[in-house]
Symmetry: D2
Subunit: 240 residues, 4 copies
């Protein structure tokens, strides 16, 4: 059974009644809930727990880590970020949501600024499926429509994704590569744009479907990590 | 000096006064003109010429072929299509414009239906640059805005492009991968979306800049075609 | 349950006792056998059956088509090739093996010559895993070693694969991109190099594992084909 | 005129007479020499200079940075690495050679361990061209052969390259993705494998040709860096 840890900064929920009304159990609670219903083994972790809730024991028992952060990226300790990065390279799947684009963990895995344009103006968003073969888009029609969301616009400063699955249209004139996969080491990563804290985006069933699909997609393949370093002395491999 | 052949179906120009007013010398004439000013050696060819103007002699002396077609894709002879395809595989660059997405030559090179959504409703289009490193986007700002264009929407049934340079936003709610490169054999291909015949799109200086850049990008590398077939007998290559 | 059809030209088996001794039930029979043991619903089809065994009824009930051909690519009827291509674009998975690189179906889906170098010299092959995240490499170590195989060498004239999973080393000095995925329309394609008819390659358990994994990978996603053509008239989508 | 800075650790040259005999002016001196002959404006910089020779003034006046390091990656100051990374994201081209795969700058740009297999056994290497369209392969035949080199083998722990141009064959049974491009921010990166310090690899004319070609390829496109951050308030863009 795939073991998922949903990590959330959990600060907006403490400060902003709009957010805590939409997500009474926190964004992490909402995500954990719909993943549990899909028969995953789910736990949550938040910034203010010791080691941000990401102890070695937790990380070692996590197949897929979901990440939501925004206000306090800088408070995440570098040492924890390094451990998470190593776990991804060792095969743990990672799903980065919305403002997590600016998290330390996403930035060290991408190598770029991960910067973008944004605007809070209650705009309509349409996430168009541009890769209809992809299992992350299973069960989704031609697009997902969200009545109101924060706008994210290009240029999105990421490496060209290995696969581009969704591209968003925004009412105000921007587009955004909003569903992207990346492989790093033995790990698979999925970035998914929607989820501004003041909208009920994670209650949307299609958004939930995408995240459920993504868990299945990024979970580790059953392989040992390759061997690196000084290789065997030259065999007489070619001598017949 | 790079030798460019601009191919145009040249039918709308004969039938529709709106088109012939915008493009008195035809779409091919307009494109040839701004390419000539960039110091390329340019000729034109059209559907109704013998062999569609694409004789072996013309093809052999073409480094980059620009393609615009719409009404009469089915009238292009299969034999000519095969010759063009072979020239692309041998290294000739190919720039496919707008409704050329449904040309035989583009479809045989892609292997897919190349189908898409469309709507003629005088919509605003914004072509956002999503790859700021790319020489095809040189001299272009963050986006190109076209006041009125035909809408093309996803899903665009092409293989995942090797490089995605532009993505279009349309007023009516759609997005489209509108600037894409592909490599086939020794040849480079650039698909560029804008250019519906009833709008003065090819008079837009930024659109012209992109096409000029593209000619430079898809022109053949200075290499011989690789050798295929039965290889040399096994050398005693590994015996030191 | 995934429904697999294993297609084989089945000519070498009739002519060459070396081949029929290695594969008494034909190459298709051998492949069908190990797929059946993996709980797939498997049937076979061969060139000399009516419609090459690929009637519309068979194609409509096939989730994944495996293809082995060599001597008689030209005997496969263009009409059947078109139907198979359409089925791939509609979502059917396709696994092309070894000399199938020159099959009509692979060439129309790639748009290139699919040419390569080759040599029959009983050379050792090592297929190195270059994408350790990929489910097609599940259960495989760092490489698969085949004591004797036909050599295939670069340049392999295919579009850049969407994912490169294996690259082969050959004793005589060549390398080859030997495990490649491609997406076309709604369909996923896997090309896998090994399997010259005079070697017992399809009895190798690791080769079998890769093909089993590939069936799982290329089987259709559960989606409806996107809608193409003239789109809805412009909604007043942006009017809040 | 393109301004190139060739950076070298320059330690082997001080310690090992084998190296200083092959490269009397250092590896940086040898590379600078053949680039100068190609009409580039070239300077060099080395580890033991103040700020490793990479002052802000030098970096700001560098279009393409070439990097060779091996023994002392850890001695490169993090602050300098950050500045170089920022310059790449701002558009400076970067060419990383051989053991530079383990440099801090390459690792932060890749986000992975960049680990690999290696063996020093005077093995023959053949770098096969797998992308014949690429300008970095201009003037190169089917492969480059180096009589003796250090072996690097897969798995090479990098993100899937944007373009794979060369793949190496080694006598002892390994293969390696030895010529790879990556885009990060506004910058283009080329990793090129050959160049172990005890072999005269950078005196090889084909290796020189590749590096010359690469300088041309990774030099910055003529564009302004995109605008990030809070975007303009929602225009009434859609209101016709």
């Amino acid at each position: 059974m795939t073991r998922v840890t949903v990590w959330n900064e959990n600060r907006h929920e403490q400060k902003n009644p709009v957010v805590s009304e939409i997500y009474p159990k926190g964004i992490h609670g909402a995500i954990a809930e719909f993943l549990q219903s899909d028969n995953y083994e789910v736990r949550t972790a938040t910034l203010d727990e010791p080691e941000h809730g990401l102890t070695e024991e937790v990380l070692e028992n996590t197949d897929v880590l979901v990440w939501w952060g925004h206000l306090a990226h800088h408070e995440v300790q570098d040492e924890i970020v390094k451990k998470v990065q190593q776990r991804v390279l060792d095969g743990m799947g990672l799903i980065v949501l919305h403002s997590g684009h600016f998290s330390k963990i996403f930035k060290v895995l991408m190598g770029t600024s991960c910067d973008l344009k944004w605007r809070e103006a209650d705009e309509k968003e349409r996430l168009w499926v541009v890769d209809p073969t992809h299992p992350i888009a299973e069960g989704i029609g031609e697009y997902i429509e969200l009545e109101k969301e924060e706008m994210y616009g290009e240029h999105f400063d990421i490496p060209a994704p290995d696969e581009l699955i969704f591209t968003s249209w925004f009412e105000g004139g921007e587009i955004f590569r909003s569903g992207c996969t990346f492989k790093r080491g033995n790990g698979k990563i999925f970035y998914f744009r929607p989820g501004h804290e003041t909208y009920p985006t994670y209650h949307n069933e299609q958004v939930q479907q995408v995240i459920k699909n993504a868990v299945k997609y990024v979970k580790p393949a059953d392989r040992k990590r390759p061997v690196y370093g000084n290789a065997q002395p030259l065999e007489t491999i070619s001598a017949k």
